[in-house]
Structures are given as structure tokens and as C-alpha cells.
């Protein structure tokens, strides 16, 4: 037990290159298969079918970034849905004109980060399980979102919409944002915070004994998740040019699914953001495949469930085989 968690710590730690084994490769294989299937259905080799994938997947990837960090620290965040709904509702009701867009966005992002930090503080101070704390704050923030914007609607400042949608040169702005997020993540995991994150997730006790302030890591982790969810809410409002007080709810389970399909362990300390991006694209690409197969969009829900179950079972089987091999010799 102790050696396995130490191994995973070492594997997660920079600067070593990620080890390539069956588990690391799986999400990439699934994504490539989905892309090939789409090309086969179209009858030509082209990525055109995926040109607006970054746009539609960005909210999921943003929520997934927060969820990845939380899960790496061995927590879970269900409040991402409520915070995202709240931020969408705030944008659609308060950032409606071109005046003071920047100030509005900063305030919305701050609300998200604060709500997240509150999660972290509640977890650290009361000692209640993260699942329960974030279940409660999901309900609370979701309720506040409904108070801010009781029904779907509202408007989003036109300059905000034009500023975040469309493309710069050949690349869409959402793709640039995703690449930037990956770059920030790759930098972040090499910093003090990144190392503390993986260490806390692998074994909080060992991390504390080694002088890490685990409770501070926890608060920062949930604040980051709240911030990422708020940004996802902002982008969702831009994407739809309006607001919905329940916009975030599907993203709770979708983000956890993206994290898990990517191969990040729910037991903490192993995984990363890049696999989550791949997991998010897998979930979105299922919809593309269903579209080009001329099936009704309802099939994509079924496909998502099946892909989640199958990949997770494959991870489970690989894990069983590995642990059997380890104990066998």
C-alpha cells in the first residue's frame, strides 16, 4: 500500500516524462478511434467536422480543469455546477451592456473563486467530507443562481460575445484559450503548488509530515475550482448569448466523467489536466460521430454512458492485472 502510493507520487512528480503504459494511452486511443469513425462516416480524410469542437467543449474543459485539481488533491467538487450556473446568471443579468465589461467579469470571477474558497474553508475547518460540503454548496449556489435569474434569458454584452468568439487567423479563440490553459497547467505542476498538490493527494499524512500545509493547499484547490467554474459560466453565456440558471448542472457529472475517462485516479495524486482535455474532447466527439452517423442526438447520451462504463472497466481490469502481477512477484 505504502509503496504503491509512493510510486504514484514519484510518477506524478516532475520533471520525469509521463510513463507510457496501457492506462496513459487509453484515452488517446479512444479519441483517435472516434475521429477515424467520423472520417469513415464522412468518406473523406478531413478534420472539418471537428472545427467547432473547441468552442462547444471549452466550458467542459474549464470545469474539468478545476475538477482535475480537486480530484488530484483527493477531493471532489459537486458545487462546480452551481457556481457555473451562478456565474452564467450573473453575466446575463449584470454584464449586459458594453460599459464596464472588464470590471463585471472580474467581479463574476471573484464570486466564483470566493465560493470555491468557502468550500475549502468549510472542509478544512469542519472536517466534513468534501462530497457533502460541495453537495450542499451546489444546492446553495444553484438556488442563488435561480434567484438572480429565475428563468432562462437575459442578454450578454455584444462586445463580450464578439471578443471571445470567432477566430484569430486560422485558430479559433477557444482553441487558443485551451492551449493557453494547458501551458499554464504544465507550468503550474512544476511549481511549489503543483508538487504540494500531488503530494497532498497521494498521502495527506505524508505531506503534512514533510512540512506541507495541506489545509492551505485544500483551500487554494477549491478556490481554483470555483474560479474555473465561474470562467466556464462566463464562456457559456458568451456561447449562447444568454443565460440559464441551471446551465451548470450537466457539467458536474460530465466534468467528473471527463476527468475519469482521461485516467486521473479518484484516489488522488495520479493524473493531470492534459488527459482531462482529451476526456472532454472524447465526450464532445461522441456527439459528432452520432451526428455524422445520421442518428438522433439522443444516441449521444447513450454513447457517453457506454464510453464512460467501458473505459472505467478497462482501467479497473488493467489495475487488477497490475496489482495481481505485483503481489505475484
Amino acid at each position: 500500500m505504502a509503496t504503491s502510493s509512493m510510486k504514484s507520487t514519484l510518477r506524478g512528480l516532475p520533471p520525469g516524462l509521463p510513463r507510457i503504459d496501457a492506462t496513459t494511452a487509453l484515452p488517446y486511443v479512444v479519441l483517435v478511434l472516434l475521429v477515424i469513425t467520423t472520417m469513415a462516416l464522412q468518406g473523406r480524410v478531413s478534420l472539418d467536422a471537428f472545427s467547432n469542437l473547441p468552442d462547444t467543449t471549452l466550458p467542459l474543459i474549464l470545469v474539468g480543469l478545476g475538477e482535475t485539481i480537486v480530484i488530484l488533491s483527493r477531493g471532489i467538487d459537486l458545487s462546480v455546477g452551481g457556481i457555473m450556473s451562478l456565474s452564467t446568471a450573473l453575466v446575463a443579468t449584470h454584464v449586459t451592456t458594453n460599459k464596464s465589461i472588464v470590471l463585471g467579469l472580474i467581479l463574476v470571477a471573484a464570486v466564483g473563486a470566493l465560493a470555491g474558497a468557502l468550500n475549502g474553508l468549510l472542509i478544512v475547518i469542519t472536517g466534513i467530507q468534501p462530497f457533502i460540503v460541495t453537495l450542499a454548496t451546489w444546492s446553495i449556489t444553484g438556488g442563488v443562481a435561480l434567484q438572480v435569474l429565475p428563468t432562462e434569458g437575459g442578454t450578454v454584452a455584444p462586445n463580450l460575445v464578439s471578443g471571445l468568439s470567432g477566430s484569430v487567423g486560422p485558430a479559433s479563440k477557444s482553441l487558443i484559450i485551451i492551449v493557453t490553459l494547458i501551458a499554464i497547467w504544465l507550468y503550474l505542476r512544476r511549481t511549489r503548488f503543483g508538487v504540494s498538490l500531488y503530494a497532498t493527494g497521494s498521502s495527506e499524512k505524508a505531506a503534512v509530515l514533510n512540512g506541507l500545509r495541506a489545509s492551505r493547499v485544500t483551500v487554494i484547490v477549491y478556490a481554483c475550482s470555483g474560479l474555473a467554474s465561474a470562467l466556464a459560466g462566463i464562456y457559456f453565456a458568451v456561447l449562447t448569448s444568454s443565460g440559464s440558471p441551471t446551465a451548470g448542472n450537466p457539467y458536474i457529472l460530465d466534468s467528473i466523467a471527463a476527468v475519469v475517462i482521461g485516467g486521473t485516479s479518484l484516489a488522488g495524486g495520479r493524473g493531470g489536466f492534459v488527459p482531462t482535455v482529451v476526456g472532454g474532447f472524447i465526450l464532445a466527439a461522441i456527439g459528432t460521430v452520432v451526428f455524422y452517423a445520421n442518428m438522433s442526438s439522443y444516441w449521444s447520451t447513450l454513447g457517453t454512458g457506454l464510453i464512460l462504463l467501458i473505459t472505467v472497466m478497462l482501467y479497473g481490469i488493467v489495475g487488477l492485472v497490475q496489482s495481481r502481477r505485483r503481489s505475484g512477484g
Binding site: G127, G143, V144, L146, E204, I256, L266, S300, V312, Y315
Partner: protein
Amino acid sequence: MDEAAIKTRRPRFVLQERPWLNRQRAIALSYVVALILYVVTGIYSPGFLSLNHLRILAVSASILGIVAAGQTLVILTGGIDLSVSSVLTASAIVTTLHSSSDQDLWHVLPLVFLMAAGVGLINGVAVSALHLPAIIVTLGTAGVLQGALLVSTSGGQTGAALPPAALTYLADGDVGPIPTSLLCWILLTWLVSTLLSRMPFGRKVYAIGNGPIVARMTGVNIVFTLSVVYVFSALCAAFAGLLLAGDLGTTYLSMGDTYLFTSISAVLIGGASILGGRGHYLGTVAGVIILTGIGGLLAILNQGPATLAIIYGVIILVTVGVATAAQRGVRR
């Protein structure tokens, strides 16, 4: 590690050494909260405690209580069942869609329960044999079930059908002075409580929640026990689906959605630990009574779902917070 400390303490709550009140402090607390809630609301608005209104509350509490029975067993083993809402909806829609008369129920219901048991079996086997996190497995089966429902009803367009009269009677009929659904719930409460407190199976459920490795070493068949637990949870949800269809008089694709959050909340408010091994269905019953009462209170106050959501969240934090603080006090 904190968790390890809790786990070594926990058996004291299973072995019956202390007086009932002391041992089940969290459960007693939940009933006190429920009592205060109903008395205060009754004073504020006397109609709240009228027989007619109590009957309405009893029917909706029974449906939630039946879903929460399965959820309680699952959470006691240290798992969670996110598929309850999908199973509930699937059972309601499939049943009403394929039975135009009461006679049809004889061959539709066995199939519906078989489907539910199948979902539960997949959940249980994946969690126990493949060591997968319950939250992910049940999320996956919920997605598959939801997708299958969407596809087979073309997005809910063909889902609305009148439930047969027998279901309406099952939900809203009366046996003497008691609504039928309440009677079902009382029977289930007796069954689950006996199972947990007096049967070897209950001991095994707690043992797995306290630590699967130790449980296996002491001879608990984990794959079998967990499979039974998840199948039971799915069957409870399916049965609740029948009651809800009968109560509402219609079915729709999102009819079960709220039961996921409320069933978990009821278990937590009832004092069970999300880590497993601690709690009892009698606590969940109190949680169900509290949640139903709050819903009724807010309806009187003319408050919408927004306030309800906020108050549910605060109630969860406060009750679990108090229980956790009491737990820490005991540990010291």
C-alpha cells in the same frame, strides 16, 4: 490519518455496548429537528397539520423514503448510487408505456424489476469485483439508462401515457385510514431496520463500510453482498417509480431527477457517514420527514425552488456539521 482514526473507532457504534440514545445520538437529533419543524410549522399555519395535508406529505415522503432505503444501504457500504433517478424514471415510463390496463402489469412489472435488478447487478459487480469507484460506475449506468430512454421514446415525445389504475391505487389509495404508499414504506422500514440491526446481512453491510479488507478477511463475500445491496437499491428506485407515476398521473423524462439529490441528503441528514459503516435507516426516515416538511413549509410561505435549494444546502451543512462536531467530541 484522520480517516484511519475514525475507522478504528467505528465498530463501537456497531457493537451494542452503550445505551440506545447515546449510541444513536445523531439519529435522535434528527428526530428532534423533525419534531420541532412540524410543531413550529403547525403553530404558524394550522392547516399544515390537517389530516388532508398530512396525507399529501405522507405520500410524497413515502416515495422519497423508498428510494432512500436503497441509498442508505449503498452509503452504509461506503458507496453511492447515482443511478437511482434514472432507474426510477425508466421504471415509471416503461411501465406506463407498455401497460394499457391492469392485466398488462402482470407481465410488464416482472420485466421492469428484472431490468432494475440488472442495472443494480452491473453496479454491484463493477464496484466489488473490479474495485471501481461507485460514483463513476453508477454515473455510467445512469447515463446508459438515460440514453436508452431518450432513444426509445424519441426524447420523451412518446413517453406520456396514463398510468394504469392499479398504480394510482398503489400510490394514492387507502388501506383503512392509511395511504397505501405509506403502508408500503412502513413495511419497508421494518424490513430494512430488521435487516440492519438483527440479521447477519446487516453486519456484513456495516463490515464492508468499515473496511472491505478486514471484512473479506473475516469471511464476508464482498462481491455477493455488494451485488445484493446495489440490486436492492435499484429495486427500491423502480418501485418508487411506480408510486410516483401513480401519484402524478403521468410520466416524463425528468420526473426522477430530484430524487438523486434528496435521497442522498436524507441519508446524510439522518446521520450516516458518507465513508460508510455508520448510520441507520431509522435516521434516514427522519431525514425524509425533515426534507418533506421543509418542502411543505416553503409551499405555505410561497417560496419557489430557489429558496428550497438554498435551505436544503444549509440544512445538510448544519446537520452534518453538528454530527461531525459531536463525533469529534466523542473521540476526545
